[in-house]
Symmetry: C2
Subunit: 134 residues, 2 copies
């Protein structure tokens, strides 16, 4: 499995916010209830989205979160990369990984790179708007 609950829940939270745009700031309590996810767990996932400017949150009564762009302007890829860290199919392609000593003559490396490109392209080719219509 490549996509954990972090990325999947983040996507569902974003979709929920998209579905309820124009209702002002939506509290995560509401989103969590609608989505059937623990509020506390959602609270641990969401900060990376605000820190990277994907959504906007305000504290206090009547506070909550809202999208800062139109749903069609969010690529699924950027949401998943932020929450999952990396979509690399193998460890040797991950951001932090040093160059494998066998890289030069590794017969499988080109295949992993090709798949990596395929996966990133797949997710970058879809937006929140695309998912909304199921």
């Amino acid at each position: 499995m490549i996509i954990s609950t972090r990325g999947r829940y983040a996507l569902r939270v974003m979709l929920d916010l998209a579905e309820h745009m124009g209702e002002g700031f939506v509290p995560m309590k509401t989103v969590a209830e609608r989505q059937g996810i623990s509020l506390k767990y959602v609270e641990r996932i969401v900060p990376v989205l605000t820190k990277n400017g994907l959504i906007e949150g305000v504290q206090g009564k009547n506070g909550g979160y809202r999208l800062v762009r139109a749903p069609s302007e969010y690529r699924v890829g950027e949401i998943l990369r932020l929450t999952e860290g990396d979509l690399a199919p193998v460890a040797c392609l991950e951001a932090g990984a040093g160059e494998c000593p066998r890289a030069g003559k590794c017969p499988t490396l080109p295949m992993w790179k090709e798949l990596y490109g395929l996966i990133n392209g797949f997710f970058d080719g879809k937006t929140l708007e695309d998912l909304r219509g199921k």
Copy 2:
């Protein structure tokens, strides 16, 4: 990350056997040394390949393993599915997983299924022979 060392090592072992076809039975000790992988770990990975008839092993002196088909007749997908168990990108698509209660109205499920098909197709479209020439 989706493909662990199990699948990657299995692939390298198969490629090594392909590279040394016609040399009779090749002991895993030799393969492990050539590939720079612990023999003991390889010994734990390889049985699934013999049990499913992908390779043939004989015990005793001058024993070892050999491919039973031409390299072009091995799909990368079958090797990875045997060693990794499943190439599903999300838990809800895994073989053992029961149907998700949200499946009917889940806006992201079609995307996961599409990617699952893409991944399986990608790996089934490549054979050991394709990888040999780098």
